[in-house]
Symmetry: C2
Subunit: 367 residues, 2 copies
C-alpha cells in the first residue's frame, strides 16, 4: 500500500493518456478532477493486487462515449460517486472494498481516484484493458467470461440507468444507445468484481506503470531522445514514425470519435507517410500503405518535442508527433482477445501480426 | 369487483383496440396472450377504482415501440411478469396490490391481464390515457406531475434496464433509445402509483368502457348501422368518413410506425377524400384538405362492414373503413394536456379545436 500524492496523480494522468492510445480522455481535465478531489478529501491509498482479499468486492467507474464531448460537458464532480453508489446499492453490497479503472486513459484513470478520494476507499493497481478500447466488452474480464452487468449509467443532468444484459455485447449496445441519448457521453460503473476475479482477470500494476511512464515524460532534465529511449525500454515499445499531421478526417458518430489522420514524415522519415485509423483509440497504423501496427497492440501518438500524449480529440493540422507502437497485454494476444478487439472486429481486413514481428521483419528488409 | 372471463377479455381486446386509435397493438395477438394466461391461471378479478385503498401500491405493464414489430417478435409470455417484478423489487415494495394498463390498445390492455393472471393480482379498471399515445410522457399521471420512474424495461431476449430520470420526457428519450436497440419493441413497467394517485390522476372505467365497445362491435344480431349508432352513442362519437384506403406511406423509425394514409370516399362520401396522419396512433384527419379531427381527440378506423378496429400495422390498400372521431378525456383538453399531446407537439401547425365544435361547424355549413 502507498499513498498517491499530487505528483503521482500528475504522472499517472500523463502515463495513462499515453497507454490510452488516443482515447480515454484528456489528461489535463482528468488531472484537474483528481487533484481537486484529493485536495478536498486527502490522499488516496493505492493497493497492489496482492494486497486485496479474494472475497472482497470492487466496483470500477469510468466515462463512456466520445471523449471530445467531455471537453464541452465538464463533469459536476458528483456523478462518479453517484453512479458508483447506485451500482453498489443495486447489488445490495454493504461494503465495497475499493475501486479501479476500467481502462488506461487521461480521464478514465482519474475517475476512480475521484471516487476513491470522495468515498475514502482505496484504489487498486489494475484495470480491465491495460490500454483503452472503445467498447464495453473489450475488457480482460470479458475474455474470462465475467459479466459486465449489473451496470449503472448516469449523465451530468441526473438521469440514471441500470442494466442487466444477457451478454457483454448487449451491455455495449444498450449502454451505447443510452449514452448517445444522454448527449454522447455518460458515466458508468460496470464489471463489479471480487478480489479473486481481479487477481485472475485484471491487468495488474497498470497504475504504477502509468506513473512510471508519466515520470519519464514529465522529467525536465533529460534530452528528448534519452527520454524516448527510457520510455521505449520501459514499455518494450518501438518508435514507428515521426511526422506532421497533414489531414484529419473525423466525425462523432454513435457515441464515438471516428476517423483517420495522415502524417507526412519529418527528420529521417521525411520521404515516408503514415496513416492512422481511430475509433476513439488508434487502431491501425500504415506506413507507406503497409500496415506496421494494429489493434490490440497499442499505437500511441506523442508530441514530437515533449513526448506528451496526443489524444484523438486534440489532433490538429500541423502538429508534429511521434508514433510509438507497444505490444498489448498477453491476454489480448489470445484467440479470444484477437476475436474481441483485433483488426477484423473493427473492419480492417488483416490477420493480426504482433508488432514486434512486423518491426523485426521491416528491420530485416532494410539491412 | 367482478371476474373477467373469456367473453369479457375478447370484448375488452376489441374495444381497447378501438380506443387505441390505430396503436396499442393487434387485438388478436393481445387476446390470445390474455386468454392463454387465464386458461392456465384462472380468471382475473377486476376492481373499480373506488374499491382500491389509497395507500396500496400498483404497477402497470405495457409494450413499448413499434406495434408492427410485435407481429414478428411474438412474446415468450414471461417477459411481462419479469418486468413487473423487476420494478417491484427495485422499489423495495413487498406487496403490489394490483396492475392496470398504461393505455387502451389491443395488446396494451391485455398485457396487464396476463400479469394479473400469472401473479394472482387484481386488474384495476383504469389506465393512464383513455386511448393510446406514442410517447411515455403522454400519460394523465404526467399531467399531474407524477414521475414515470423508476421504470423497468426488458426485451424478449432477457436484457433488463431500470431508469430513474429527471423528468418524464427524459424517460421517453432514454427508454426509446433502449427500445430501438432492443429491436424496436420492448416491455415496460413505469408510473408506479398509489391508490390515491390512481383515483386522482387515472382515466377511470376504461376497461369496462372497452368491454362495452367490444360487446357492441362483436354483437351478431344487429345491422351494421344500428351497431354503429349504439357505438357512437356510447362513446359520444361521430362518423367522419367512409372510404377505401388508396395509399399508405409508412416507415418504422426511432421505434415508431410513422406515416399517413389516403382514403377515397365511398357511399355518400364518394366525392370526398380523407387523409389520416399517424405516429403509431392516428393523430390528424383531413377531409378534402380541411382538418376535421385532431389529437388529443380520438381518430378511430374501423372495418366498413364489421366495425372491427383497424390498427396502423394492418393498414392496406383497398381496405374499406369508417373513420370515427371521439372527444378525448377531459384531462387531455386542459392547457397542459394540449401542450403534451396536442397537434403542435406532433408538428401539425394547428390550434386544437374540440371535435364536437368542428363537427357542429361543418353541419352548420352544409344546412
Amino acid at each position: 500500500m502507498r499513498y498517491l500524492d499530487q505528483a503521482a496523480i500528475e504522472h499517472i494522468a500523463i502515463g495513462a493518456a499515453f497507454l490510452g492510445t488516443g482515447g480515454g480522455g484528456d489528461p489535463y481535465i482528468g488531472k484537474l478532477m483528481a487533484l481537486s478531489a484529493i485536495e478536498k478529501n486527502g490522499p488516496v491509498k493505492l493497493y497492489s493486487v496482492d494486497e486485496i482479499a479474494d472475497d472482497d468486492f470492487f466496483i470500477p467507474a469510468a466515462m463512456m462515449g466520445a471523449p471530445s464531448v467531455l471537453v464541452e460537458k465538464f463533469p459536476r464532480g458528483d456523478e462518479f460517486v453517484k453512479v458508483f453508489q447506485k451500482l453498489a446499492q443495486y447489488l445490495g453490497k454493504e461494503k465495497i472494498a475499493g475501486t479501479y479503472p476500467m481502462e488506461a486513459g487521461g480521464v478514465n484513470s482519474m475517475i476512480p481516484i475521484v471516487v476513491a478520494a470522495q468515498l475514502g476507499l482505496p484504489l487498486i493497481d489494475c484495470d480491465g484493458m491495460g490500454r483503452a478500447f472503445p467498447e464495453l466488452q473489450m475488457v480482460t474480464f470479458n475474455l474470462d467470461g465475467i459479466s459486465a452487468t449489473p451496470m449503472a449509467i448516469t449523465d451530468e443532468k441526473g438521469n440514471i440507468g441500470i442494466f442487466e444484459t444477457i451478454d457483454n455485447k448487449w451491455t455495449e449496445r444498450i449502454a451505447r444507445s443510452a449514452t448517445v441519448e444522454m448527449g454522447a457521453s455518460s458515466l458508468v460503473s460496470l464489471y463489479p468484481t471480487t478480489g479473486a476475479q481481479i487477481k485472475q482477470s485484471g491487468v495488474h500494476h497498470i497504475v504504477t506503470l502509468s506513473e512510471k511512464i508519466g515520470e519519464i515524460i514529465a522529467s525536465k532534465n533529460q534530452e528528448v531522445n534519452d527520454k524516448l529511449q527510457h520510455l521505449l525500454e520501459l514499455v518494450k515499445g518501438f518508435e514507428l514514425f515521426q511526422g506532421k499531421i497533414v489531414d484529419v478526417i473525423r466525425e462523432t458518430k454513435g457515441g464515438f470519435n471516428l476517423g483517420k489522420m495522415n502524417l507526412e514524415g519529418i527528420a529521417h522519415y521525411k520521404n515516408d507517410q503514415m496513416k492512422v485509423h481511430f475509433q476513439n483509440e488508434n487502431l491501425l497504423a500504415e506506413k507507406n500503405d503497409k500496415v506496421v501496427a494494429m489493434t490490440p497492440d497499442l499505437i500511441c501518438l506523442v508530441d514530437y518535442e515533449t513526448l506528451l500524449p496526443v489524444t484523438t480529440e486534440s489532433l490538429k493540422y500541423g502538429k508534429r508527433v511521434r508514433v510509438i507502437g507497444l505490444p498489448a497485454h498477453e491476454k489480448w494476444r489470445t484467440a479470444k482477445g484477437i476475436e474481441t478487439a483485433g483488426p477484423k472486429y473493427f473492419g480492417y481486413d488483416y490477420d493480426y501480426v504482433p508488432i514486434e514481428e512486423m518491426v523485426k521483419k521491416e528491420v530485416a528488409e532494410h539491412v
